[in-house]
Symmetry: C3
Subunit: 164 residues, 3 copies
């Protein structure tokens, strides 16, 4: 069926969801990585998986976190490591869409492209893929109960340690 007829989401809620994704991307693009875990519920699921695995129903992901605390740990580790050259990530989002409205959760998908810029280099495509997220109302705020980041490439970019 074309254009998801019948999927009726109130404009105000659509706008809040759009704002959530804006805020999420802005925090990461501004390098405010410490804010990242706050976009998730205390118990949550964050996975980064190559598309190939999703198509073959292989649940193995490159990155797997199941609580906000684990996300916080990742950021602490990332800040402490000196392995990576300074770089700027820029999130481009397209096709943000509510796919299903459940009793207490929304299933939301979107396409993303991350543009990476290293010092003294031109900007370039770093990663393209899609989000398959579960968004919930959590004490008056929309947060991710699940964020599944499916990337298109089969090679593993080293800077996948950064939040997608």
């Amino acid at each position: 069926m074309v254009a998801a007829p019948g999927l009726d989401v109130a404009p105000a809620l659509r706008q809040r969801i759009a704002d959530l994704y804006c805020e999420y991307c802005d925090a990461l693009d501004d390098g405010a990585l410490e804010r990242w875990p706050d976009f998730f519920t205390a118990t949550c699921l964050y996975k980064v998986v190559p598309r190939e695995n999703v198509e073959r129903n292989l649940p193995i992901g490159l990155i797997y976190c199941e609580s906000r605390a684990m996300l916080t740990d990742r950021i602490v580790a990332l800040r402490q490591t000196a392995l990576f050259a300074p770089r700027v990530m820029r999130h481009m989002i397209s096709g943000l869409r509510v796919r299903a409205v459940e009793a207490d959760a929304l299933r939301v998908t979107a396409n993303f492209t991350l543009i990476e810029t290293l010092v003294d280099q031109p900007s370039r495509v770093f990663l393209a893929g899609s989000y398959r997220d579960v968004v919930v109302e959590d004490a008056g705020t929309l947060r991710f109960a699940e964020k599944l980041c499916i990337y298109d490439s089969t090679i593993v970019p080293t800077s996948l340690v950064f939040p997608i």
Copy 2:
């Protein structure tokens, strides 16, 4: 005039149009090419044209289909050919906008960038350009009566056989 003053499109209709483009891109990005013809009316126009030709008023396009049946033929041919390496396309859409509301049709434009990912290669920009579409209500569903895909480059990417 800035920002098309006076072009008054009801929010619900704007949302349906946005959903149509989301659905269109998702189908293609998911590789569900057999769904592609269903986004068009039975009689339709699908053209892929370099920008250069549009500026010179040369109507000649690289790809030209004038019915849903022709679109279906393209997909069958595409599935049967073994010429092309497996690849993933990712549609990024920006600036979706209703340009004109006519008696029974909407003129809609948008920018697109397609990010291509081949096996064991990083993602990269494949094609950038714009859509100039005519969207109609067709038995309760929004469909493309026309989709003109104008791409910016002067070279012909071989994988233009894929739906844009």
Copy 3:
């Protein structure tokens, strides 16, 4: 706080802002550079600054204009110069968001990626970054009182002479 709770912008105004950015990008992508100054108020601020400078609070930008007349001068100069190879720019915008509603102005931010296409070359990422704009109502039309274009790279792309 997630998703800017409490920032209440009427849907009609959000839509007008979205239309403003569509129109702005379309004018530039269509090569209608002479229309560019009309998107700004008579007294305005247009700056193009590397992100590095913003982070260090160095106000020095690569490009600095403080009136519509200066913007017009830029376009005249650009049209007269023969230094640059013909190219097409394509603006992709993501994460457009009203950050603050002031008495007579709106603070608006967005991410941008510019895709550049030169003759006989494939399209590629030219510039990624973000806008930090001030939008005002100017005789019934939304215009930019300020447009700050912050780009991510540290190298200076020569074609920055083009409007961002």
